[in-house]
């Protein structure tokens, strides 16, 4: 059991290599979600670990900011945000699964997705108390849908777990974290970082908007690919659900969450676009890592 005394070589935080930094950040963030069986729950707020987290976040944020390409225009807001998200080029994992992936490659995608999808929507929930008015109401509506709209078995994380089990994969939370490319941890850490920092609430909402706005059509491709490969119908159903859910959520996120947030706080406009970029950027890096891994 890890508890009480924490000995961290702090200078190593910022200097450790990229993969070590992402693994450390992921482990530190997990203390705020489900924690670890063999780790003392009190370590969630241990000052030494928070200091280390702060250093790791500083390096991560600098990497994200360096890649960010600001929009040329932000008005009219909703149209520009949709166009900005659609305009960021990258490889499409969903199209690959739809047309070309082998069964093993599709299972690799599901393992990679499991790290987030088994806590689907949780990082975004951190932002609820940090926004107000109509935006908060719409965010809660969106999250309520993610959490099953009153039916525990319809929680999206539960649907994904059922899909994993039906594909004979392990539905236990975090089961594949040691097997997936580091870019999976980057994506999860990006979500947690933005969600846990009030200063980045605009970016958290922009990330949500981009996530939803790049989900509905790819979900259809994923469902078609999984059925082409004869994988379990439960997993195809998970993606079917996201075709319709995310067609709603993208409109809610852009027009009823991000738009009122920036109407109330115009100074957050660039943060919203930064969050949107970061979502697509981290998704693209993950897609490229998987595609490169299969090609090697």
């Amino acid at each position: 059991m890890v508890s009480g005394e924490v000995d961290v070589a702090l200078p190593a935080g910022a200097d450790a290599d990229h993969e070590d930094r992402q693994i450390a950040l992921w482990a530190l963030y997990e203390l705020h979600y489900g924690g670890f069986e063999d780790v003392d729950d009190d370590l969630e707020w241990h000052p030494t670990l928070l200091t280390l987290r702060h250093q790791l976040e500083g390096v991560f944020l600098a990497e994200l900011r360096e890649r960010y390409v600001a929009p040329e225009s932000t008005e009219p807001f909703a149209e520009q945000l949709f166009a900005y998200i659609a305009g960021i080029d990258g490889p499409s994992l969903a199209r690959f699964v739809q047309r070309n992936a082998t069964r093993d490659q599709a299972l690799d995608v599901l393992r990679a997705r499991s790290v987030y999808q088994l806590k689907e929507a949780d990082p975004t929930t951190w932002a609820i108390p940090r926004i107000s008015g109509a935006a908060k109401v719409a965010l809660v509506e969106l999250q309520y849908d993610e959490y099953g709209a009153g039916v525990p078995d319809k929680q999206h994380s539960h649907l994904f777990a059922q899909g994993l089990a039906a594909c004979r994969l392990d539905p236990a939370y975090g089961a594949y974290v040691d097997d997936v490319p580091v870019e999976v941890l980057e994506l999860n850490n990006g979500l947690s970082f933005l969600g846990l920092h009030r200063r980045w609430r605009g970016a958290a909402m922009g990330f949500l908007a981009a996530f939803e706005a790049t989900s509905s059509l790819p979900a259809r491709q994923m469902a078609q690919g999984l059925r082409r490969l004869g994988l379990a119908e439960e997993m195809a159903y998970y993606y079917d659900e996201h075709i319709e859910a995310d067609a709603v959520h993208e409109q809610l996120a852009v027009r009823q969450i991000c738009a009122p947030v920036v109407a109330e706080h115009p100074e957050l406009v660039d943060d919203v676009f930064f969050g949107a970029f970061t979502c697509v950027d981290l998704e693209n890096r993950l897609a490229q890592a998987l595609l490169d891994g299969w090609a090697a």
Binding site: A86, E141, V248
Partner: protein
């Protein structure tokens, strides 16, 4: 029904939202009759009704309108 203390007029969320180049958002529970006469009960806090006529999951929006933009 009297307004709750502190309630401001006009701050409620709209029940129906027409999204430019996008679907119709419906808040709350509704029975929707599709173009073919079939009836569908909403299941979400907010639902999106197809307006472009090209959805594969009528009457719900499936994002297809994005592929139609010139």
């Amino acid at each position: 029904m009297s307004a709750a203390p502190g309630h401001q007029q006009g701050r409620e969320s709209p029940d129906v939202v027409v999204c430019p180049d996008g679907p119709l958002l419906l808040r709350g529970d509704h029975l929707v009759e599709a173009a073919d006469g079939s009836r569908h009960r909403t299941t979400r806090p907010v639902s999106a009704i197809c307006r472009c006529g090209k959805t594969g999951r009528s009457p719900w929006c499936d994002g297809t309108h994005k592929l139609l933009r010139g």
